[in-house]
């Protein structure tokens, strides 16, 4: 008689889906008496569905985001305390780097399994076409933009219809202009949005707007990928998961380039953005024992190595090895040398409501920069309400 | 004994009283016809007998049973509706047998009764048809058949022929008369067709505004109405009415007629006003210039002359020939005073 372990996840893109199926198969091979039933949901729908299934029909294991996004669920008692898993498997040391973001009330609630860097991906062919050098500073970047514009190429592209891709742009501009501590203060609601430092960030953003793909608000991030692939756009601020999409479109390690977001204020220590994903056990799980086994399994160094190689992302476990993909290596290199700090992401560091209002503001700013004052007033009003 | 007896029957819709204490006895096997102007309560009364309307006051007895508050099903009545009310999704046979089936009669019995009714009504060829495939007259027959099958003590008809065209109406009228002779049940029949009432009824009940005006055999009502309303209602064309003043013992003056006239009925006091009634066929043209010819209607076999008296009163004369008169001609009238009826001007009751 096999025991059933239900696992609900939103990893429905082809590559992650395959990676997880492999992981589950490995787990089942190690634990022949457990049958893992994986229920894969649409990524966007998952974000709303999780509320419902956690209260109505919780699985044994599911995935979610740590830090701020985890908090309301823990407060509502929907997550199971897995401090014992951490203790029993020496995870406090192996996963030390992410311990703060999975810990609340001195207990651990989630097991992180991956993270990935954000940065600027670019089309080398396009750079060669206009004879531009890979920029290190914002001035160089903007200078390149002039050249791209002359050649009819969008210097920066994105697809903002789902809002979050442009939060990455904001985060980087903000990190480069004001630094990591400011980012934290801002997302924690400690700084008013009408602060001059925020305005400074937007002022930098305004500089690149003329060179940004025009209809970004009409398209999804995937729609912008072909623009890079076909050389109609040169740069794309994205997470490392996009590499799969670029390569699927026909780019190779030779034509696709990666660079850390250029420096704006040299006095600000370089900080990076690297969201972490994790799994957890719902409070209502029926098969808690096997779920904890699964947690421990996912946390294991060799498992994370294999999973992240397949995902094309970075493992969290300190003992795991990073795949030899050049972009991964570059990212790992970039993150492990970051002096400033590592941010999760705007919509994970800020409370959900603030994130939503904020990202809408970013989008409006990109389309109507002249509305900046009104936008900031609105965000400030939201801040006053949300963080009270 | 299955007559129908109504005693001080009252019907109110909310505050509006539409039947004002009707007393009536319909004898066993009698054919009773309700007539009266539209809205006088004929249908209401019939539906109260059927149990389709509650009775607000008084009592209704069928045979010896008090059915005032009984369910329609328990009254032993059958009703034929103006619209036939056939179940459109059932065949003729099913329509006729439906009531029996629902009250749990065994199939062979139902079949037997349906067969018998269909024989009486000559419906054998149509038993498997749906009502849609029948003519108006056939539908009406099925509706009657449905009533017969249940072997009720009392049949109720609400203007059953008014949806048929003139020719069929005559035919079905004959049919209903035959049916009544054949099965001899008590029947109550509502109509506003003069001819139907006169030819079918054993007893006519004339209703006005929820009250019974007169009850009697057809020709009795025609020849001997109790009041002006009945006199005017029964007979076509309607009776002529003119005002007259009592000007002596046994004489009246009717300026709209020929003036001074001896009459035979008992009159009120000298100087009082009475209303004289005279049927069109009892008026004749005569020498004179008292009346003006307003219209002439020659129908071939019979002609009607519409006259107006100097008083403005209108008279209709029926005659067998086509009078050689022009509109606007002046003529006189004559009549046999024996045909005169008189009515009290206030109460409108007949003076005899």
């Amino acid at each position: 008689q096999q025991r059933v372990l239900t696992f609900t996840t939103d990893n429905n893109d082809p590559a992650p889906k395959a990676a997880w199926e492999q992981l589950v198969a490995d787990f089942e091979a190690e634990n022949p008496d457990v049958d893992v039933q994986m229920n894969i949901m649409d990524r966007e729908a998952y974000k709303t569905a999780i509320r419902n299934f956690l209260t109505s029909d919780p699985p044994d294991v599911a995935n979610w985001y740590p830090a701020n996004r985890m908090q309301p669920f823990v407060d509502a008692g929907l997550f199971l305390d897995i401090s014992d898993v951490y203790a029993d498997n020496d995870l406090n040391t192996q996963l030390a780097s992410t311990l703060p973001i999975v810990t609340q009330d001195d207990k651990q609630w989630m097991v992180p399994y991956t993270y990935y860097q954000w940065g600027m991906y670019f089309n080398r062919t396009a750079y060669e076409q206009v004879d531009a050098a890979v920029p290190a500073t914002w001035e160089e970047f903007l200078a390149n933009c002039e050249k791209f514009k002359a050649a009819g190429i969008d210097c920066l592209t994105t697809g903002s219809s789902q809002l979050w891709p442009i939060a990455g742009i904001f985060d980087y501009l903000n990190l480069r202009t004001n630094g990591y501590e400011f980012h934290k203060a801002l997302t924690n609601g400690e700084v008013p949005w009408t602060d001059d430092r925020v305005r400074a960030t937007f002022a930098e953003w305004a500089k690149v707007l003329p060179y940004t793909t025009a209809n970004h608000a009409a398209i999804d991030w995937q729609d912008a990928v072909p623009l890079i692939v076909q050389g109609k756009a040169a740069n794309y601020v994205m997470g490392n998961f996009a590499v799969a999409a670029f390569k699927e479109g026909g780019m190779t390690d030779e034509t696709l380039g990666f660079l850390p977001f250029p420096t704006i204020n040299p006095d600000v220590p370089r900080a990076e953005e690297a969201p972490t994903d994790a799994v957890f056990i719902p409070a209502g799980a029926k098969n808690v024992d096997d779920a904890k086994k699964f947690m421990a399994f996912v946390a294991r160094a060799d498992v994370q190595t294999k999973l992240n190689t397949a995902l094309g992302q970075l493992p969290v476990n300190a003992g795991a090895t990073v795949g030899d993909d050049p972009f991964l290596q570059a990212g790992f290199e970039m993150l492990s040398t970051t002096p400033g700090g590592i941010a999760q992401f705007f919509d994970r560091d800020a409370p959900a409501e603030m994130a939503k209002v904020g990202m809408e503001g970013f989008q409006e700013f990109m389309v109507r920069p002249e509305n900046l004052d009104a936008i900031l007033d609105r965000l400030e009003k939201a801040r006053a309400r949300i963080y009270k | 004994m299955t007559g129908v007896t109504l005693a001080r029957v009252v019907k109110k819709y909310g505050d509006a009283q539409v039947i004002h204490g009707v007393d009536l006895h319909v004898g066993d096997g009698e054919f009773c016809v309700f007539v009266g102007p539209s809205g006088c309560g004929k249908s209401t009364l019939l539906r109260m007998v059927a149990g389709l309307e509650d009775t607000s006051g008084g009592s209704i007895r069928i045979g010896n049973r008090d059915v005032t508050h009984a369910d329609p099903a328990e009254r032993g009545v059958a009703m034929v509706f103006q619209t036939y009310a056939l179940y459109p999704h059932m065949t003729v046979a099913e329509n006729m047998g439906f009531g029996l089936k629902m009250t749990g009669h065994p199939k062979p019995e139902i079949d037997r009764k349906v067969a018998e009714a269909s024989r009486i009504l000559k419906l054998d060829d149509y038993l498997t048809r749906k009502p849609k495939a029948l003519s108006g007259g056939q539908r009406q027959r099925v509706a009657i058949g449905r009533a017969i099958v249940r072997g009720p003590e009392v049949f109720l008809f609400d203007e059953p022929l008014s949806n048929l065209d003139a020719e069929l109406r005559v035919e079905m009228r004959v049919e209903i008369a035959r049916l009544h002779r054949e099965i001899g049940a008590t029947m109550i029949y509502v109509t506003h067709d003069q001819v139907e009432a006169m030819t079918l009824a054993d007893k006519i009940v004339v209703l006005r505004a929820g009250r019974v005006e007169q009850v009697g055999a057809p020709l009795d009502l025609y020849d001997d109405p109790d009041n002006k309303f009945v006199a005017g209602f029964i007979g076509s064309p309607a009776m002529n009415f003119v005002a007259a003043t009592v000007d002596g013992p046994g004489t009246v003056t009717a300026p709209g007629l020929t003036g001074h006239t001896p009459v035979s009925m008992r009159l009120p006091a000298l100087g009082d006003v009475v209303i004289l009634g005279l049927r069109p066929q009892h008026l004749m043209l005569a020498e004179g210039a008292t009346h003006r010819v307003e219209m002439k209607e020659a129908l071939g076999g019979v002609s009607y002359l519409h006259l107006s008296a100097q008083t403005g009163e209108k008279l209709v004369i029926e005659s067998r020939e086509v009078p050689r008169l022009q509109l606007g001609d002046r003529v006189g009238v004559s009549f046999d005073p024996a045909h005169l009826m008189a009515f009290d001007a206030k109460s409108e009751l007949r003076l005899r």
Binding site: T55 | G51, L52, R146
Partner: protein, 281 residues
């Protein structure tokens, strides 16, 4: 009768009209035609920018792809699972309520009736939060029957309006005739009214079928997994995955639209009767 019958006009204007109608129809259905055409366009056409010309080949494999790579089949089955019980349930309940409201005179008759009517026109967003909670607490969240139960209840409002008016239009003498014959009330309902309501039932079934099949809002609120989501919600989440794969989006759309369209064509007469009976009355 209005406008002037075209047959009374001159021959050239008749011809003009006969041309104008299909042209107007073509323009009217342009988005639909575009999508239909796209749904059989090979992916290679899209890649080469052939968005409008004739497809270089008829790629029915787009449909196969949709079925093979996505839970489309499951979504469509889910839709049937929700739709069919709803149709049956709502029609059954409303036959009864419609009968009660049309046949019997009782003091609160009109009030009850208007309650159904008003409820039917309520913006259903106002029901969302409590209904979701109710469904959650009944343990029916994310099940086809949880969704179907709500639909049954909500559609009962509309169907009652419709059924009641329909029964009201039946000759009341039929009921009276049966009562005089001694038929019990529920037998009157079953043997007389139900058979006569067949056209209304047919019309309403088609109508409710399309309403429910096309429902998106409640599908989003009350279900969330591929195992239970109906095709509208499914299509919406597939749309999130099929970025830039318009041939697949189109094929999926056509598939989702197909059952109500087929239904409409099969039951066209009832359908239109239904709309007008239910609405114009």
């Amino acid at each position: 009768m209005f406008p002037r019958p075209i047959t009374q006009l001159s021959a050239p204007s008749q011809t003009l009209y006969k041309i104008a109608v299909p042209v107007a129809l073509f323009l009217w259905l342009l988005p639909l035609l575009g999508v239909a055409l796209t749904s059989v366009r090979p992916a290679s056409d899209l890649a080469q920018g052939n968005y409008f010309g004739l497809p270089s080949a008829l790629a029915f494999e787009n449909y196969a792809t949709v079925f093979r790579n996505t839970p489309m089949l499951q979504y469509m089955l889910n839709s049937f699972w929700v739709t069919i019980p709803t149709v049956i349930g709502a029609i059954t309940l409303s036959c009864m309520t419609g009968f009660a409201l049309a046949i019997y005179r009782f003091p609160s008759n009109l009030i009850v009736f208007f309650m159904f009517v008003a409820g039917n026109f309520v913006p259903f967003q106002i029901l969302m939060v409590p209904v979701r909670d109710l469904t959650l607490s009944l343990g029916m969240y994310n099940t086809w029957y949880g969704l179907a139960l709500f639909h049954i209840a909500f559609q009962t409002g509309f169907c009652t309006l419709f059924m009641r008016n329909f029964i009201k239009a039946l000759p009341f003498e039929l009921i009276e005739a049966a009562r005089v014959e001694g038929v019990a009330e529920w037998r009157i309902f079953w043997f007389i009214v139900i058979p006569l309501m067949r056209p209304a039932i047919a019309a309403l079934s088609v109508l409710v079928f399309t309403f429910i099949w096309n429902d998106f809002f409640w599908a989003t609120v009350l279900t969330n997994s591929a195992a239970t989501q109906p095709v509208t919600a499914g299509l919406s989440s597939l749309n999130g995955q099929w970025i830039a794969q318009w041939h697949l989006v189109s094929a999926g759309s056509i598939l989702a639209a197909l059952p109500p369209v087929v239904m409409f064509f099969m039951m066209q007469k009832h359908f239109i009767a239904g709309l007008t009976l239910g609405a114009v009355k």
